[in-house]
Symmetry: C2
Subunit: 668 residues, 2 copies
């Protein structure tokens, strides 16, 4: 296996205690799978590397027979319970079986087995079924072809450099890493498709795209491309990109034919249209459905999908205007066409109505749309959540979204159900994350941010995993099986989202960040801007009234969510300022006033970062020096950032309200 | 005369009414000057171009005799009153004499004569003496060698492109323009000397620098270079730039020798040291005087000057710290070495203690230092004053600075006196402005911004001119002699600084600008930053207490200025918030509360921009279409900017104070 100048992360396969696994893995039978299949080959390579590294077993016997101690078997289980891409691990009478319905399942099954070995779990008597929760499990990369990464905090792109596509050892390791946690789709280029990236669907790049797509195929991953909706104009020289224009359709038909001739395994296109300056169907008075369906109809013969982003809003709002509410825009733009989209279109919906803040309500499009394929988009890249300097383990946030009950029907109405296809019985559903990787040695800038890179895949594959389980897996695979390390790092990860929230913007109001960079505090940074992101603080209170008496956003939810959000009393307190305008002296359920809550959480946030650092420092002897140092250095920056947030937020509200801290702490 | 794809501004020499000038100018005698002298040649060329364009006179007879109707004569006047670079215009008995003590004076005298012709003034009986008020009258360009201009709002550099020095027709026209208003020194490169610019003092560039210096010499202009204080390290490969290190001194000695061998006419060096990340003597525990004198001693044999900037302050301040006061830093850094500087060092002092805000007190270094050569630095580039989008005629501001009485002695204690050398009897004094030009067709982005480009030179040469006189000259030379145009454009220019002040930050507090770009409103933009620029607004009031009870800055002034600024009652109201922390309900001399003053001025500011636009529109028929349109388009942007400032500032203070506008106007 090729090794390069980069970390192998959770596939490092370092020496482990053999809890009996060695007894199975040296004698392998392939049953129903061909050893010549590209993905089976990769699964066997991975098995080989894993047992060599972790158990010191140099090789294994491989037989195409049922007789062996490790049987890799094609099948759907005793009760047909193994589904597409699923697998089952079963140990009985000294024989360990990895059963899977297809090659991808086998690859995931081997990865699952290696995880257990890495975590030093006993395999005796194991009986574990894993079917993917969502059909489509994707990483979206915001990589630009010049090598930069939009909202990237881990170096440069490893997909592109100087307007060329890279296919090398690092790309292969990327595919190994993400497939090992169940990712089966990857968009390699930024949704903001500009300059050279517009040309990815032309001969200039298609050979190289095919090479990458084939590498991905080895690992059961479909390659997707983000495309520029204005391609007929920019590439084709047409005067329009109107989806109902026959010439435009003809242009796309030819282009798609050429793309699929070159790259038959292509998954399809991701499109950001009519958003933040990107062109789209609205330009021509067409609906989003008109725009998406045009492409979907043309790509359907090749089995392609159109992933259509719902991040549509007016980004030239006037801050003086209190009627327009950016939070409402996504729902308003898409709800009217529910049912109009073709079956190979999937609407890709950000988890919240704004933009990946540390706390937002779940988008009301989930549960609002009932006749449209939907997928959830979250952001593993920590744009607003610490930029891979501050520790912010995001799986708890993603779990909350999956567990959110939309009440769109009596049962099976969680977001998790909708994007699994259980709610409406559809096939084309899924989950995607904006990825946090780059060409840094450790892939993710902060070593702890790799817990999100790992965790998103695991959660996408298995919605049932808890944030704690995922954290523990990642720690054991990556850092150590020492109980103290597991316990303490888990503590750091599991509290980190709440800590970050405490020292940044309070109770769901979001933003308050430095414009453009989005790192660091600027309470009024977006208050008088065109972006529709306002907190409206004055000397009496803060918050946006999004109840039915305000902008009416709360009404976009199904009952009882709508009623709960509408009511100042019943609104979940962590979202209070998102839905309501609240006086500083309002008493929260804790008995504290709002202003005191702001002061207290900000002081606590900094103290908890200090505790985090102390916990990490106590592990100095147990964690590899480079990893320890990289994280430690970032923790200093996090502490500095947390103090700035604390002092700026507290000063801002003290100066505005004139209400002193009850505990008399220093506010500037 | 070479004509290029750029405007000739006030040297356009368009057809004028001949008010009798034609009778003199066709018969010219050179008396005491050689027609072969480089500068005399240029003066004659200019005369030729001027009379041809303005009076339609194709040529003149030139004789080296006293007999002619226009005599260009070397001399110092009947009472020796014509000084270095000065001139006298005298008409008697049908003979017009331009008398000057030197060739520069002759050049300026011809320019003065052409100005009168352009303004259609009668020359009969004229008797006008013009001596330069300050020996050194400079434009500092912040041009980078890649062609960009720091704080440039008029296109790219015409001195540099892609790391090469340009010497061409535009450079010559630049020299014609600035020498025609009396500029005699130019720094062509940015004071922040980085990258290629560090190499300007090496063989790589010196040939080209000489070519430019010689072109400038034609027009009586000395070329200066901004140098990198770390040159011994960056160019010489030394480990230090310590001014007391003998190796460092040796390196500079050799370098300066080579520079002057290549460019004997070089004026000297401008140095920004120990400021905003630039290296300097403080790095080595040396004083600013140590740093400046080391260079001065080495450059002295060549007649060179060291212009040493006083813009030294801590730019990594903590906003929480209320004791450190950036305003105090310049004085504190330099006052201790008063008298220590060699005579060929001039300290270049920004007009105010902060950084070119629309309203600041005058730097207390003026009047504080008594034994040190000083020059005033102002900014014609509109960094904080509208960026050549908003109209802001700055001559009134510069006049205020010149007229400021430092009270450092009983008489002759104005800033004007100090920088003229009258106060302390020194020779090396002067005035410099950061220039506002670029390679835009009209040089200055906004055509109206050329009034500052013109006006600074005129004011530098003649401190006695009023802002109104200069405005009128510029309008007549550039736009039109029509009385209506003169009257209305003068009105626009003369009110513009006050209007800009009204809609931006109130009463001397400054800043409140968008970070980095410095255009547009962001009330808290620099409030929690490291730059030492805070307004400290809370729910009760605003302002920084710089009295003796506060940071003590007021105490840096001489009496009675110190006492006046120290007192809330006596402090000039336009500087109230610079010196005092004031409650919103404090009554100003107008009887208005502070908060009402803020509201009123901001509403008025926008209304006055609207009036400005109406005035300009009324001149549509009288002003050339391109000029009219360019200005008109910028005025729309100014109006938009003014509205944003009005609404953001008013909203900010209303939200913070809760005090409504007495007139019930809309505040958001």
């Amino acid at each position: 296996m090729e090794q390069g100048a980069w970390s192998q992360l959770w596939l490092a396969y370092e020496k482990r205690q053999d809890r009996g696994a060695g007894a199975y893995v040296a004698d392998v039978a392939l049953n129903g799978f061909s050893g010549e299949h590209r993905t089976v080959k990769r699964a066997l390579e991975e098995l080989q590397a894993g047992i060599r590294g972790m158990l010191g077993i140099e090789g294994y016997r491989l037989r195409e027979t049922a007789e062996a101690t490790l049987v890799l078997k094609r099948g759907t289980g005793a009760d047909q319970e193994i589904q597409k891409e699923g697998f089952c691990l079963l140990e009985k009478d000294g024989v360990l079986t990895v059963e899977a319905a297809d090659e991808s399942g086998l690859l995931y099954g081997v990865a699952g087995l290696l995880r257990l070995i890495a975590m030093e779990k006993s395999l005796a008597g194991i009986c574990s079924l894993s079917n993917p929760s969502s059909p489509l499990r994707m990483y979206d990369h915001w990589d630009n072809m010049d090598g930069s990464i939009e909202r990237g905090y881990s170096g440069h792109s490893f997909f592109f450099r100087e307007n060329e596509v890279l296919v090398d050892g690092r790309t292969r390791d990327y595919a190994r890493l993400v497939s090992s946690v169940g990712i089966n789709g990857v968009v390699i280029n930024n949704v903001n498709v500009k300059q050279a990236a517009t040309w990815l669907i032309t001969d200039r790049y298609l050979d190289k795209v095919r090479e990458l797509a084939e590498l991905f195929e080895d690992y059961g991953i479909r390659l997707f491309l983000a495309v520029n909706y204005a391609s007929p104009i920019e590439l084709g020289g047409l005067e329009s990109a109107d989806p109902l224009d026959l010439e435009v359709q003809g242009w796309w038909r030819d282009r798609i034919a050429q793309v699929y001739q070159a790259v038959p395994s292509l998954g399809g296109f991701l499109v950001k249209a009519d958003s933040e300056g990107r062109p789209g169907p609205f330009t021509y008075g067409r609906t989003q459905a008109d725009g998406a369906n045009m492409l979907a109809r043309l790509i359907e013969p090749y089995g392609g999908l159109i992933l259509w982003r719902c991040f549509v809003y007016n980004c030239t709002q006037d801050w003086r205007d209190r009627k327009t509410d950016r939070a409402k825009a996504g729902y308003d733009s898409f709800i009217g066409q529910d049912g109009d989209y073709l079956d190979n279109v999937i609407l890709q919906i950000k988890n919240g109505p704004m933009d990946f803040q540390i706390r937002e309500p779940v988008s009301p499009l989930f549960g609002g749309m009932r006749k449209t394929n939907q997928m959830l988009e979250v952001q593993v890249a920590q744009e607003y959540t610490g930029q891979q300097i501050d520790v912010c383990y995001l799986i708890p946030l993603f779990r909350e979204v999956l567990d959110f009950d939309t009440y769109c029907q009596e049962d099976n109405a969680l977001v998790s159900d909708i994007i699994s296809g259980h709610t409406f019985g559809n096939q084309n559903t899924g989950i995607a994350a904006v990825c946090n990787t780059g060409d840094d040695f450790n892939w993710t800038g902060s070593d702890l941010a790799a817990a999100n890179f790992y965790g998103f895949g695991r959660l996408a594959f298995c919605h049932g995993l808890t944030a704690e389980e995922i954290a523990e897996e990642w720690i054991r695979l990556t850092l150590s099986n020492e109980e103290e390390v597991v316990r303490k790092v888990k503590k750091i990860l599991l509290c980190s989202r709440e800590v970050y929230e405490k020292y940044t913007s309070p109770l769901g109001i979001g933003w308050m960040v430095t414009p453009n960079t989005h790192y660091g505090c600027s309470v009024d940074g977006y208050e008088y801007s065109r972006w529709g992101t306002y907190h409206r603080a004055d000397h009496l209170g803060i918050g946006v009234d999004r109840s039915m008496r305000g902008t009416g956003y709360a009404g976009q939810y199904q009952k009882p969510n709508a009623e709960r959000y509408d009511s100042l009393q019943d609104c979940p307190e962590e979202l209070l300022l998102f839905f309501h305008r609240v006086p500083y002296l309002h008493r929260l359920k804790s008995g504290k006033t709002l202003i005191q809550h702001i002061y207290d959480t900000h002081f606590e946030g900094v103290e908890e970062v200090e505790e985090m650092i102390a916990l990490w420092e106590s592990l100095k002897e147990s964690i590899s020096g480079e990893v320890y140092d990289r994280v430690r250095e970032r923790m200093d920056r996090q502490l500095e950032n947390a103090r700035e947030w604390r002092d700026q937020v507290n000063a801002y509200f003290y100066r505005k309200s004139g209400i002193p801290d009850e505990k008399g702490r220093e506010i500037y």
